[in-house]
């Protein structure tokens, strides 16, 4: 049976073929659905709006240049995110070579060995009703406090709803590493945001029900 996702994939494949065959103007419509995902992935690495936008643009241009080489072993979106992550990492290295060392893969010890704060700590902080903008700022601030390797995994998996396998693929790490880092990221973010997660924050009309049905 044809699923909606299958049909969408086929449509994407045929657009890709047409672009490779010379219809360059179709490229923007191909990448348009992934603008936010590409930008978010770049932001997860760079933590700066202007740099993330630059890296996102650069990634889109590279994707176009290498489109003929896209082998469809992964989803187009995963491939695109992979390029964005690489682009952002190169930019980070160029901008801040002295900082790069500290966030390099495997340099952070104790992966997964994270003890959450006692829940009494966060019951003491009063919950407050936050509007959308405040909420977004609170999440971004909490994300900034994470180590890069944790932030990247969390943004791809939990913010962009990529699967564990896609996340591993885009970051070039194993699925086991994705899971270990994800646990650490989630626990640390829960600690940072706990005052609002106690029910004080409004989850809105449940988009999460579609992607996170538990």
């Amino acid at each position: 049976m044809e699923t909606a996702a299958n049909i969408a994939n086929q449509a994407e494949s045929s657009i890709i073929e047409r672009i490779v065959a010379g219809e360059k103007d179709l490229f923007y419509s191909l990448v348009r659905p992934y603008e936010r995902a590409v930008y978010s992935a770049a932001y997860a690495v760079l933590r700066n709006e202007a740099d993330a936008e630059d890296a996102a643009q650069e990634a889109m241009v590279k994707a176009f240049q290498h489109l003929a080489g896209f082998r469809r072993e992964s989803k187009f979106s995963t491939w695109l995110i992979q390029i964005a992550i690489n682009e952002a990492r190169m930019k980070l290295r160029k901008n801040r070579p002295h900082l790069y060392e500290s966030i390099d893969e495997g340099k952070q010890s104790n992966e997964g060995e994270y003890i959450p704060r006692d829940f009494a700590d966060w019951r003491e902080i009063p919950s407050e009703q936050l509007n959308r903008k405040q909420l977004r700022e609170a999440i971004q601030k909490a994300l900034d406090s994470l180590g890069a390797i944790y932030r990247e995994v969390f943004v791809l998996r939990d913010v962009q709803n990529m699967s564990i396998a896609e996340t591993a693929n885009a970051l070039g790490i194993t699925e086991a590493s994705v899971k270990t880092r994800l646990l650490r990221a989630r626990l640390q973010l829960r600690d940072a945001l706990a005052p609002g997660l106690d029910g004080g924050w409004n989850f809105g009309e449940g988009h999460w029900k579609k992607v996170r049905p538990w």
Partner: protein, 86 residues
């Protein structure tokens, strides 16, 4: 050997290590029972579980990062310029 229907006890640290997989329902049934038995009597772990699940729900709408104003227009311009060269 553990009896088939016996629920083995686990501690807070064990539960926390499994909390991600438990939330995503990627866990074997025996461990699931143990975690549920632990959560039923441990307010600390329940708070961590609820908070973690709520966090994931909260960010899952993909809206955490707002595109900078004018992002799409600038991207289109850049693509138009670069793609013609390519």
């Amino acid at each position: 050997m553990v009896e088939n229907n016996e629920i083995f006890e686990i501690n807070c640290l064990d539960v926390i290590q499994e909390i991600s997989d438990y939330i995503e329902n990627e866990i074997n049934p025996a461990l699931r029972l143990s975690i549920e038995a632990h959560l039923a009597k441990c307010a600390h772990c329940t708070a961590i579980f609820d908070g973690t699940r709520n966090l994931i729900r909260l960010v899952s709408n993909g809206q955490t990062f707002e595109l900078p104003v004018g992002f799409s227009e600038r991207l289109q311009k850049r693509l138009q310029a670069d793609l013609q060269k390519a």
